[in-house]
């Protein structure tokens, strides 16, 4: 009511260019990640970005990132899933029993486990979507149930080790097709392909937006952004290649990140999930099958939890009753640090991934520096609070 409007038919104004403040909000997350990286790089005297440690960082955080992709959809849809850690632990246990005790091969096991994950998600999603029971409660129950079942399946013991082929899921690297080089040439080549793809997609989007007269960044800013992105990807790729190459998990992760970015930004189902979380009633009255959609986000979450459970089990090379404990907190924190809104409808895949790495790098950096696990938790909690405060402050200002 406070904006002046006249009744005459004023012609639509020219699209305005996004302001610097808009940029700050959009790239604030990336900036804070950069600050954290630089801070720990200094504090650890350069140990953070050593190829070995970088590889470790990827391996340590892969399962969090993968679950954060599913959690982002759940949160955007206006729900929450507290059971993901327990589900991951349970699936790890199930995989161990199938492979170690029943000697099933690793492919059959993985497929069965992913199906089981989907079924678990479906079981929880059913109550949430069709019976309208709050997801907080259903998944809190799920958290207890699957932690318990994990103990039951393992009979309270750790089970391992796994067949070597399964371990490769987590500890393997892309094989180098060119031998004799100190660098992993295949990995480097893949990195270059990825860089070109990112630049190409950026340009394509820009051209399309230009053609349709949608507001966009200035050419300088766009060039700068793409340039920095290319340098970072190439730099990280080079560092990883100089150690043992791209980890298998990283490849899985990149494919999933690309897939989920695409689904959220460019497909009708993605758009419907945002509408569902933004205003469920309006979405329903626009012909969106809201119940089915909420159900599917939980099925998807279950599958990704299962995948994360497999990767985590493979990484430890044993399934333990404690596996996956408090993963849900890291995963949820990653989404919120990455700018997702607790009330639904808002959040980005890239944000959740960055959020996961903010947490991961802090874990890793503080461990190297020698901060105790006690203070690590305090600091991580404060960072989560600060990140969300910053986001809310920015939103209120604009």
């Amino acid at each position: 009511m406070s904006v002046k409007l006249t009744a005459d038919s004023r012609p639509p104004r020219q699209p305005v260019k996004p302001s610097m403040r808009g940029h700050l909000r959009e790239y604030g997350m990336i900036l804070s990640l950069a600050v954290i990286v630089i801070f720990f790089e200094k504090m650890t005297n350069g140990a953070l970005l050593l190829p070995l440690n970088l590889t470790n960082l990827v391996l340590q955080n892969s399962y969090i990132v993968i679950m954060a992709l599913g959690m982002l959809l759940v949160i955007v849809a206006g729900h929450i899933d507290l059971s993901v850690g327990s589900v991951a632990g349970f699936i790890g246990a199930m995989a161990a029993v199938l492979m170690v005790q029943f000697h099933l091969n690793f492919i059959a096991t993985s497929v069965l486990c992913l199906i089981a994950g989907g079924a678990i998600g479906a079981a929880q999603g059913y109550w949430i979507a069709f019976f309208k029971i709050p997801s907080f409660i259903v998944t809190l129950a799920g958290m207890l149930v699957f932690r318990g079942l994990c103990l039951v399946v393992l009979a309270g013991q750790s089970i391992g080790p796994f067949p070597p082929t399964f371990q490769k899921l987590s500890s393997g690297f892309l094989p180098d097709l060119v031998t004799g080089s100190k660098l992993n040439v295949t990995s480097l080549a893949l990195t270059i392909v990825l860089t070109i793809a990112v630049i190409g997609l950026g340009l394509r989007n820009r051209i399309r937006r230009q053609r349709n007269g949608v507001a966009q960044d200035s050419a300088l800013f766009f060039g700068l952004k793409i340039g920095v992105m290319a340098i970072i990807i190439l730099g990280l790729g080079y560092l990883l290649s100089s150690y043992r190459g791209l980890p298998n998990v990283l490849v899985i992760m990149i494919v999933l990140i690309a897939l989920y970015s695409f689904v959220t930004l460019r497909t009708t189902i993605g758009r419907r999930i945002y509408a569902l979380g933004g205003n469920e009633k309006a979405a329903k009255l626009s012909g969106i099958k809201t119940e089915r959609l909420a159900f599917l986000t939980f099925v998807n979450m279950g599958v990704l939890s299962a995948l994360a459970g497999l990767i985590f089990a493979a990484r430890l090379n044993t399934a333990t009753p404690k596996a996956g404990t408090s993963f849900e907190l890291d995963v949820i924190a990653a989404c919120f640090i990455g700018g997702a809104s607790a009330s639904g409808g808002v959040g980005k895949v890239t944000g959740a991934v960055i959020g996961a790495f903010v947490m991961g790098i802090m874990n890793n950096g503080m461990s190297i520096v020698g901060v105790g696990i006690d203070w690590q938790q305090v600091i991580k909690g404060l960072v989560l609070l600060a990140a969300v405060c910053f986001d809310v402050y920015n939103r209120n200002r604009s």
Partner: protein, 511 residues
């Protein structure tokens, strides 16, 4: 008569906009002073300055209240002096009782312990003053909007009000509830309470106001004294919009074709109470190119009827037959209804119509995502073309199509809702209170859009509580009362009296 309130040279700027520009307002003691103006003219901003929502220092100018210059820093400051404002959006807690709401923040307590006896008896007295016949223990959520409004007024009265400000109190009320409220204002006036009434509805203002101040674009245009001379509505409108509105309704030559949509024996039960019918045996048809009105009081079951047609979005035990182009049609789910070319634009834009946090573009495409996608992949180029197209056609005033829907004014939000349904390309468009809470200029534009749809051969069913609007726009009007259709009339024979008479008569027959 002396002035209870004088606001001199009030100027308030927000970054980039001059919301108020040297506004002067004089309210005399004991009068009912109406402030009119289009949405965005600055009425609410002015009242926020007065009540201390915008603290002293954040605006320029003087506020003189009861002979002294006042510097209100918070709402509490102004309330202490008897200035009470009732906002357009009601500020009641639905899950608390009437009594608890009336004394919320002003609890009748000693050492923090509430004296319930005092609360209940005082509430009862207050409810009697405002003419609300409900026990004080009733939860507010069980009251209709009209009664909730009365609770708000009772709450204001509990605070020794001297100057009562009502911001569009009748916007969501039907005619009889509005009348109750206006009578109440006159009764308060007799007791010496001064009121400021902000409203869009000129007929109400001419009924009760002693003087009128017109705001336009954040400035005072004119102040009238209605007691000195009778003021014509046309003159007020001319001042509000800055130009003459020769006709409030655009002209149209109806080209009416064959029957497009027909329902027979349509009955619906309340969505929570099976067995309680809210829609009873309705027979209704709509022709191509025809605008059909559905008149009635609030609670007559019009929205329930419309939503039950639209994929059973409301109700249970829905029975009856629906035909489209003479063929029986399955409307059992919303996607099916949309698929058959039926659209329902809700009366509740904010809660049911828009995803407020999303852009204009995303809202427009929401009901027809397949139209902008190929194999479920969204073509963002096509999407922005579609959105730009509707923004231009419907004159949606915004920075661009990426602006967030929640930041638009009511009229522009309504245009986004209409765009969404136009893009779904319906054959039958059901519009539920399409101009509620919208200023006169935007209303005219909405009527033009409705006319254009009819001219394209679509059928339009328009629900409205404003009878002049139905008479001005519709080709044929059905009247609904207590779940039944009680009358049907052509444009030529329809009049406000006739509609009212059929409602009253039906009520008498029922009782």
């Amino acid at each position: 008569m002396d002035a209870i309130l004088e606001m001199r040279g009030i100027t308030k700027t927000f970054p980039g906009v001059n919301a108020l520009d040297n506004v002067n307002l004089v309210v005399r003691r004991g009068e009912i002073h109406a402030i009119v103006g289009e949405n965005g003219a600055g009425k609410s901003t002015l009242m926020k300055v007065l009540s201390g929502v915008y603290p002293h220092g954040s605006y320029d100018g003087q506020i003189i209240y009861q002979g002294e210059e006042r510097h209100f820093r918070t709402i509490a400051d102004s309330e202490k002096l008897g200035i009470i404002i009732i906002h357009q959006e009601l500020a009641l807690v639905p899950q608390l009782s009437i009594a608890e709401n009336v004394f919320l923040g002003n609890e009748q307590a000693r050492y923090g312990v509430i004296d319930w006896l005092a609360v209940m008896s005082r509430t009862k007295a207050l409810l009697a003053t405002v003419g609300l016949d409900e026990p004080p223990e009733t939860l507010v959520t069980h009251l209709g909007v009209g009664k909730q409004q009365l609770v708000e007024i009772a709450k204001a009265l509990s605070k020794e009000v001297k100057l009562l400000i009502l911001d569009e109190p009748t916007a969501s009320l039907n005619e009889s509830d509005s009348n109750v409220l206006l009578e109440l204002l006159l009764a308060f006036q007799a007791q010496g309470i001064t009121s400021i009434l902000i409203s869009h509805k000129l007929n109400e203002i001419s009924k009760v106001a002693d003087s009128i101040t017109v705001l336009r674009d954040g400035a005072t245009v004119e102040s009238f004294d209605c007691r000195a001379e009778p003021i014509s509505e046309d003159r007020i409108i001319r001042n509000m919009v800055g130009r003459a509105l020769d006709d409030r309704y655009p002209k149209r030559e109806p080209a009416i074709g064959a029957v497009l949509f027909e329902v027979r024996n349509w009955s619906v039960d309340h969505h929570r109470h099976a067995g309680r019918q809210v829609v009873k045996n309705i027979d209704l048809h709509i022709r191509r190119g025809e605008i059909v009105g559905l008149a009635g009081l609030m609670g007559a079951g019009r929205t329930e009827f419309a939503m039950s047609l639209f994929g059973r979005a409301y109700g249970r035990n829905i029975s009856g037959t629906a035909t489209l182009d003479g063929e029986p049609v399955d409307l059992s789910s919303i996607p099916k209804a949309i698929g058959h070319g039926i659209a329902y634009a809700t009366e509740d834009r904010k809660h049911l119509g828009l995803v407020l946090g999303s852009s204009i573009m995303h809202n427009i495409s929401l009901a027809n995502l397949d139209g902008i996608a190929r194999h479920t992949v969204i073509d963002d180029g096509r999407e922005s073309r579609v959105a730009n197209d509707y923004r231009r056609q419907l004159k949606i005033r915004s920075a661009d199509i990426l602006q967030i829907a929640g930041n638009l004014s009511g009229g522009n939000q309504q245009k986004v809702v209409l765009s969404k349904w136009l893009y779904a390309d319906p054959r039958l468009l059901i519009l539920d209170e399409p101009t509620r809470g919208i200023d006169i200029g935007a209303k005219y534009e909405i009527y033009t859009i409705i006319n254009r749809l009819a001219d394209e051969g679509k059928g339009v069913l328009m629900i409205s509580s404003e009878m002049p609007e139905l008479l001005g726009v519709c080709d044929r009007i059905y009247v609904m009362n207590e779940g039944r259709l009680v009358a049907e009339m052509d444009r030529a024979e329809a009049s406000q009296e006739k509609i009212m008479r059929s409602i009253v008569k039906a009520g008498e027959m029922a009782s």
